[in-house]
């Protein structure tokens, strides 16, 4: 059986470009653009059970090696900095709760953010700043990028693992459960102590030490 030329062209382009190609760019190269989805289905099926799979991430298509082979392909593995637990939790919160502010992330994690999580995730290119939230201070809302989808092999942001579960249990709620209460406690109990200590230290700097 002979394969349609358009299908071959899509295959060849995806294969040769070695990175995800947008739907629009692919359609540009074929004759029957209206048949695009059928072509893609055909290719997907042809590679379903092979060493290479066709995958959609965001609005782009790519061939990538089948993930069940990962152990046999360690030879290609690139040395990567390991993500810290803090960064990993931050990434998960941004992915599931997006768009989300930094203080909302802190509320969910129950701890002030360590330096480095947000800028590290941005350096990898997995999160980005978006619009600002319309509350006092207009804080930046963070969300994930297309590169995040691409790297994790997700078709779109609604394909995250456990998403329905989390939603059903109410855990996608960003409300500050005990933070509001601890904020009260903090203001009453500790802030006065810690901050006044700090204040005193600052003043020390200006008293001549003779």
């Amino acid at each position: 059986m002979s394969t349609l030329r358009d299908i071959k062209i899509i295959e060849a382009i995806l294969f040769a470009s070695g990175e995800p190609v947008s739907e629009d760019d692919l359609k540009d190269k074929i004759v029957k653009k209206s048949e695009f989805n059928n072509y893609i289905e055909e290719i997907k099926k042809h590679y379903e059970n092979r060493g290479i799979n066709l995958l959609k991430t965001g609005k782009k298509w790519s061939f990538r090696t089948s993930d069940e082979l990962s152990e046999d392909l360690v030879i290609f593995k690139q040395q990567k900095r390991k993500l810290s637990r803090a960064a990993l939790e931050t990434l998960a919160i941004v992915a599931y709760h997006q768009p989300v502010t930094r203080s909302e992330i802190e509320n969910i994690r129950g701890v002030q953010m360590g330096r480095g999580s947000i800028d590290h995730l941005m350096e990898i290119g997995w999160i980005k700043p978006g619009v600002r939230k319309n509350i006092p201070g207009k804080p930046t809302l963070w969300s994930t990028t297309d590169l995040f989808l691409e790297h994790f092999g997700l078709e779109n942001i609604n394909n995250l693992p456990n998403q329905d579960e989390l939603k059903a249990s109410g855990f996608l709620d960003k409300r500050a459960a005990i933070a509001t209460i601890t904020d009260l406690a903090k203001n009453d109990i500790l802030d006065s102590k810690i901050e006044s200590d700090e204040e005193e230290e600052k003043l020390e700097d200006f008293i001549p030490n003779t």
Binding site: A12, L14, F15, A16, S17, G18, S62, F63, R64, T65, S66, D67, S70, L73, F76, K77, Q78, K80, L83, R85, A86, L88, E89, L91, A92, I93, A95, R109, G110, V111, Q112, D119, M122, E123, G125, K128, P129, E150, H151, F152, G153, L154, L160, P161, N162, S169, D173, A177, I178, I181, T182, A185, I189, L190, I194, D197, F206, I207, P208, T210
Partner: protein, 253 residues
Amino acid sequence: MIENSSEINHEKDQFNILLTGYEGPIDLLLDLAKKQKVDLSEISILALAEQYIEYINNYNKIHLEIAADYLVMSAWLTYLKSRLLLPKDEIEDEYTPEELEEALRFQLLRLEAIQKTSKNLYEKPLINRDTFYGGIEEGVKIKYDITYKANLYDILKTYSSLLSKKDSIQSLTIASSELYSVDQAIQRLKNIFGSIKEWTNIMSLLPNFGTNKIINKSSLSSNFVASLELAKNGLIEVNQKEVFGNIYIRSKN
């Protein structure tokens, strides 16, 4: 004394090591809770609060910067505990003990869910770790389209380093120009001491810089040093009657 301080350091380190395993107080609570029972929704909040407070109280000398969050939680749990133990109608407050308990339970369950999920997410086939792009370009005509590799991270990082570079340069300028130097004080005192025949409070001789604290303080210390210098050279006399008392100077002639 030395022994003592090393002991404190040791304790401090120990506490910090124990805490660095945790990503904050909720994470610590979660760990304690898991040890107590498998099903978090049935956990005894009172028992958990007691465990946490005990855990934190075991360490007296702690590094405030690291432990502030943990101490706040400890204070909050102490409060919760007292609310749970006291008769209900005795305290009027915004929140009922049950609400507080429920809030903590929700916080714990939510963080647990996020932690599990973050693991699941990271176990997904990740590009260049589990799955790879490839392909061979031979036989294909390739036209290169030059793009520039800068991304938003580069811009933010570059701008941040410009800001800090600028900051440090600015502060250097201010530091050097705003202080009153000893040389300046000596010059000034030399010009005026001839007219100071009577014992005069040095404070009344200081140049006035208004409310600028830094200059005033630097001027006070520079003038004091300058007066000692001039006294050493036999030009003036300096007199102070009591410790922390006023300092008087007069011309030696």
